[in-house]
Symmetry: C2
Subunit: 378 residues, 2 copies
């Protein structure tokens, strides 16, 4: 057995989520509750009825690749050759890390709190990782100077999620500029991997690193924007030379993405509906902030994505609290520790459940906190 | 950049296939030309209309996993926990190799001629590979004794495709027994990876290694059996302890397989249609053998899959011949060298094109051979 595989732990998020009961209030979900637009599926069905589901080229359906590049229109990345269509943004990130980093010499800098997959993928391939934690006292705001200060001689890539899972922070333009200037002082040789999967769920200015820094690799999908998580349709958008190499890894790992899913995606871009759910999230976000204020809990106001961090009472273990919450209060929430030590002491709540459930969930969390039960320590 | 990625070459098969013109006779195809059964898609659509496309568990939809295990009913592998649903059999093989082999110490034994992905995947992860070539003089028949003789102290796994791409040979029961006895003499610690993707295209006895040897890992998909190549739906079927480890690799590489595809697959198993195209292939195989006899070419009579190897005139390079064939005779065929040195001097023909095209393609190949042009050497 590969000892790196044996050493890797499973997903803490999935472990907590698996304790969900029929009756549970689910604030753990990392996926939209909106129904996907059936028109996208009907278009793909019409294609399949006529043409079956043949393999596409390894890098994806040429039409889809062109659509993706044209839609984002990032400088130097506007052609089909700048896109590799992948099995969700998860495979996009996997292929990117495996292509980019030489395990013998390179280091990956992860901006935390962060979705755990970056670290797991690196561990699977023996890639050295350094983490830089954003400041809890600043509500984990993305801090360009702090990231720049963590770069080392070995840093080959920085990975950053904005809008961020789990903090729901969005990088501000000024902070992005600080980071980009630091990367340019390093000659532009360090790749900036921008995980922009929550790009269409943001409630202020949008900052696309690919418009600011030439050595940006953007990783994205339709999972969150169009409620298509299970469709597994994502992509890497990057300079063509990188896509050429990344496509080799993609080809030998999975051959190509699903043709049916790719036709769904073609319809999304053709019908200009990438933002079809954006207004719903913007409206819901305001309602959620009002509920959070009313709950009396300390929270980080979401600037993007569909999460909110809430602070546990001092010293409480996030894992113990999440377990107590699901077992005794029937509420699923994700312990901050899943996103790195810097997020210990917090719970990540997803706010895509109906508002009534969210209100009730917050009341139960407040009840847990005031019961003192959450102060159990692991 | 990861030097292992930079060093890896692209797919020779895809390179030749990319030279195909509108007018070409395509005998290169590694995928069925039959249309898939629309009923499978309608069932998946009904599911999506009602329930959207949420993520499934990492290892796959529980219902699908149970169906797969029950259908094959391999001893000790009859439960959902014996199945990890993957992105086609390509990802199934990728996850299997990455989980099973420790690059620091283990060796993979590949039975050649072989589909090139096994070697590429191993190269990507620094896994040592030894090849054992079947005997051209015996039409590449799978030879248990020859495989057994190639095992070394470091061999941790043997990978073998039967029915075989590209030779169209199927292992005979007697030869399988010879190999299994040799593996048992090694204490059963060597895993036998049976790539059984052409399992429903066979024209004689079927031999499932998982019924003969406990440490078998079966890799399969619906791509060939049900003309669903582009759907990317495959699986690993193995002892539960292995599936638990493999699921971690699968989870961090792609999260889970496509939910829509998984519902298509549920319908295939529920409607007991895994063999819906088997009779077509059996009938076609007889017609193809007659055409091959008529062509005057030396060929390997297919026992399974939908390929036939034809022998080039002495000394001709398979790559040069394939290039000459597509450029001057407008026929796509795959050079044997793509499947290892042991297959040099042969072309792999796929016989899923209409019979008229196949007849015409064979005539043009015979014309190329008699022109002497195929004797160019690289």
């Amino acid at each position: 057995m590969n000892p790196r595989v044996a050493a890797i732990s499973g997903s803490l998020i999935r472990q907590i989520a698996s304790k969900k009961r029929e009756s549970s209030i689910d604030l753990g979900l990392g996926e939209p509750t909106l129904a996907p637009n059936a028109a996208h599926f009907e278009a793909a069905m019409a294609y399949v009825r006529e043409r079956g589901v043949r393999y596409t080229a390894n890098a994806g359906d040429a039409e889809l690749r062109a659509h993706i590049a044209a839609y984002y229109a990032y400088p130097g990345m506007t052609e089909a050759e700048n896109v590799c269509v992948t099995v969700g943004s998860q495979e996009a990130m996997y292929v990117t890390l495996l292509t980019l980093l030489d395990p013998a010499s390179d280091e990956l800098l992860v901006v935390e709190p962060a979705f755990p997959s970056y670290l797991k993928m690196a561990a699977l391939h023996g890639i050295a990782v350094r983490s830089v934690a954003m400041d809890e006292g600043e509500d984990f705001a993305i801090d360009g100077e702090r990231i720049a200060a963590a770069l080392t001689e070995r840093t080959r890539a920085v990975v950053l999620c904005s809008p961020c899972n789990p903090t729901a922070q969005v990088v501000e333009r000024e902070q992005a500029d600080v980071l980009v200037r630091a990367l340019e002082r390093r000659g532009g040789s360090i790749a900036l991997i921008h995980d922009e999967i929550y790009r269409e769920q943001r409630f202020g200015e949008r900052v696309d690193f690919a418009r600011l820094y030439g050595n940006t690799i953007a990783v994205n999908s339709l999972s969150k924007s169009n409620a298509l998580t299970g469709l597994r349709l994502g992509w890497v958008l990057a300079p063509a030379a990188f896509i050429e190499q990344a496509t080799k890894v993609h080809a030998w790992a999975v051959s190509c993405a699903d043709t049916f899913s790719q036709r769904v995606a073609v319809h999304v871009f053709e019908s200009r509906t990438v933002e079809e759910h954006a207004a719903w999230y913007a409206k819901r976000r305001d309602d959620v902030v009002a509920l959070l204020h009313h709950s009396g809990l300390r929270f980080v106001a979401p600037q993007g994505a569909f999460y909110a961090l809430v602070r546990l009472p001092g010293g409480a273990s996030s894992l113990e609290s999440a377990l107590a919450l699901v077992e005794r209060y029937d509420v699923v929430a994700i312990p901050g520790i899943a996103f790195g030590m810097s997020c210990e002491g917090w719970l990540r709540l997803s706010w895509v459940a109906p508002l009534d459930e969210l209100r009730e969930g917050l009341a139960r969390i407040a009840a847990l906190f005031s019961s003192g039960a959450s102060e159990a320590r692991t």
